[in-house]
């Protein structure tokens, strides 16, 4: 069974197109700039970029474990540590924007009128409430650096909460709590329409938010896709790309989000970019829907192929430990997708036991994770349906001379109502899960982004209307699939 699955996975693995894994920060991802740069890079070089958006700390950790080829991060002091350790090389300054301290318009701490950044922080620590990312991100790293420089012990700040979430979510929480927070300007602008928070402190040179790109050290990580990574870092510094970065966001926010800083490798006239895309899921909705159907459909199909025979055996055979196996299956029916995602990620990630297969951040990996989620559902529902049949029926078929396979087929025919229920339960479970798809698929635009992860993406960018619309599309999709299956099921009832 396992061999068959591996074979399937290997077989359906896309033809080896050159790829690289870019570990980057949620703020860069949420700004949407990568969605306009990455497709352009692919057009120019044929190299696909798998963008994994995590906090800066996690991105650097991915690089250290050999699970990324390049990083685009914004925590220079931390970055230096990794460069010194020989993890990162080829560092290039790419761009900057700035951090601001946003807070309630009433400004109870009086931060806006403080004479300096340090004074503003002291005012907030004394009289305000502060919401921190608390997720090891570059933004948190900057925040801690600022508190320290101001001589404030964060442990002593009475009202400092840590969300452990992305910038968008943290802004929404700060807004609801009437609290201050440190945010990059890009994310603030994206969420501005939903916030009562206003920019209160800005302009200090220390609030500069500087992005560097690095490749991982090929000497230390021989399995890394160094050529592709180097090409991408080079691409980011090219004049044409820099022009694109400098213009990004003007369309949506009326002002650019980033200032390009790169010194070009070689001289060359910057050609103006042709219509940078922005906004939305950065992906054709129809393509996302089809991809969602394909991935969850194949996972469900595979789960049926494996789960129905297993359910049949569990229902029919008596063996020592059967009750234990049934208990495990029934527990598996409620397996948290995010745990499955984590387990599959650990298995498939480059530094993991099956890392050499190169399956991490692919649709195949998503199908595998969803298969693991769906199979216990199929096994459980199938074995329950078969156990509800008269016990003489399989014996009857046996005495009539049916082979084992034929008996299984005829029994399946008897329980087709139950089997269709299994399909619906399994498909419903995988099409609506987000944790596993996000972790093992990486939510790559145009590649592994499915409806649920697209919803997370646009929510992260503050496009809540789009998120709701995608939610309705997902609901409509599951309704249509279930309607089709239910009609098929009830026709024979």
């Amino acid at each position: 069974m396992a061999a068959l699955l591996l074979f399937l996975l290997a077989a359906c693995r896309a033809a080896d197109a050159p790829t690289l894994i870019l570990a980057t920060t949620t703020s860069a991802q949420d700004s949407g700039i990568l969605d306009s740069l990455v497709p352009r890079f692919r057009r120019e070089t044929g190299i696909a970029v798998k963008v994994i958006a995590v906090g800066t700390g996690a991105a650097l950790d991915m690089a250290e474990r050999g699970n990324a080829d390049a990083v685009l991060v914004h925590a220079p002091p931390t970055e230096r540590v990794y460069v010194d350790r020989g993890v990162l090389t080829d560092g290039r300054l790419i761009m900057h924007n700035d951090f601001i301290i946003a807070g309630p318009a009433a400004d109870p701490a009086g931060a806006a009128h403080a004479p300096s950044l340090d004074a503003a922080l002291h005012a907030i620590a004394a009289r305000g409430r502060f919401v921190s990312r608390g997720d090891g991100s570059g933004t948190e790293s900057k925040e801690l650096e600022l508190w320290k420089a101001a001589g404030i012990d964060t442990a002593a700040v009475a009202h400092r909460e840590r969300t452990g979430q992305g910038m968008g979510a943290t802004l929404l929480i700060a807004d609801q709590h009437g609290a201050y927070t440190l945010t990059d300007r890009g994310t603030y602008l994206a969420f501005r329409a939903r916030l009562h928070l206003v920019p209160l402190v800005a302009g200090d040179p220390r609030l500069r938010n500087i992005y560097h790109a690095y490749t991982v050290n090929p000497a230390r990580y021989p399995r890394a896709h160094h050529r592709e990574a180097a090409a991408f870092v080079h691409f980011l510094t090219e004049p044409a790309t820099q022009v694109l970065i400098g213009g990004f966001g003007r369309e949506r926010f009326g002002e650019p989000l980033f200032t390009p800083d790169a010194v070009p490798d070689s001289a060359g006239a910057a050609t103006p970019p042709s219509g940078p895309g922005s906004g939305g899921a950065g992906d054709d909705v129809r393509a996302v829907v089809l991809r969602t159907l394909l991935i969850s459909g194949l996972a469900t199909l595979a789960a049926m192929l494996a789960g129905v025979p297993l359910g049949y055996l569990l229902a029919r055979r008596r063996f020592p430990g059967r009750t234990l196996v049934l208990t495990v299956v029934n527990t598996g029916m409620g397996l948290p997708p995010v745990v499955v995602g984590l387990a599959v990620w650990l298995l498939l990630v480059r530094s993991g036991p099956l890392g050499a297969l190169g399956l991490i951040y692919t649709r195949q990996a998503m199908i595998l994770a969803q298969f693991v989620i769906a199979t216990p559902v199929v096994v459980g529902v199938t074995s329950a349906a078969i156990q509800a049949l008269p016990p003489e029926l399989p014996d009857l078929l046996t005495t009539l001379g049916a082979s084992r396979l034929r008996t299984m087929w005829l029994i399946s025919r008897e329980v087709r109502i139950g089997l269709l229920a299994a399909v619906m339960a399994a498909f419903g479970a995988v099409v609506s899960e987000v944790g596993a798809s996000m972790i093992v698929g990486g939510n790559l635009q145009g590649d592994t982004r499915v409806l649920t992860t697209a919803i997370v993406t646009v929510t992260g960018r503050g496009e809540l209307g789009v998120a709701m619309a995608l939610g309705l599309v997902l609901l409509g999709l599951t309704f249509a699939v279930n309607a089709f299956l239910t009609v098929a099921q009830q026709r024979h009832a």
């Binding site: 008269p390 003489e392 046996t398 005495t399 009539l400 001379g401 049916a402 082979s403 005829l410 025919r413």
Partner: protein, 324 residues
Amino acid sequence: MNVAVRDLTVARSGRVVLRVPRLDFVSGTTTAVFGPNGAGKTTLLRAIAGLDQPATGEVTFHGAPMPRSGRRPIAYAFQAAVFVRGSVRYNLDLGLTLQEVPAAARAARIAAAARECGLEPLLERPAAQLSGGEAQRVNVARALALEAPVTLLDEPLAGIDRAGRGQLLDELPGLLERFATTTIVVTHDRDEALRLADHLVVLVDGRVLAAGSKRALCAEPPDADTARLLGFTVIEHGGRCWAVPPGGFRVTDAPAPGAMTLQLAVERVLDLGSRRHLVGRLNGVALDVVVAGQPPVPGAVVTVAADGAVPIIFSGRPLNPEPR
């Protein structure tokens, strides 16, 4: 020999539930496996069909082991009439299909079985909608249509109302003659066993108590338990054990010389309209005897003669069990 059982033991959860040293089912005969509920009758049938793995021993068909998978020379009508989804015709057809009978022959065999078993009006009915009696009839017909060398029927008359049961009981010997070669029928009902079979296997508590031709067993029951199961009344008289055949007791005023006579203490009189029964005790054994004319009143003692009493071996069980 057609079907031979040798040194068979079947265990369930480590406990032996059936032990059959030797049994032979002769080609062309009908054998009734007969005994009380829980005696192991169905267990024996399943072992013969190759459905359960015996702990020891084997079942052979014409000298070769009975196959435990794939096609086998067996048609088995289970006690519970179970069907696959679909019409009666589809259910009859499925067995023939699985036995790889060609399509043309299948239609003819279904038609013949349906005609003989009186199922023609039911053929297109979904099997799930049959009444209990109809379902049992289809269940039997499905087995018969296979025309297998060995036909196994497990309580073929169970779950049928009285009228339907009588009718099928009348028809079954003819149907077996027409469709079956060697038949083994399991029943807990003495009348069914005696009416359907030429050979009897008496099974009690997982052991074969007696086996042989119906006539021989009824002429000389080997022991008290077998005799009792066959409807004999077992009594003690003159210092030894006797089995009196069903209907062998008769109330008499003037017994023939040399006849065995006993005194019956009348406890109750059952008036069934056309006849009356005296219920009482005879040397402690419960007895029910038909009486003609004016019955005696309860408490009276009457003389009964036992015709055709045969001496038997006392099998060690209580001689006068409480009447059921």
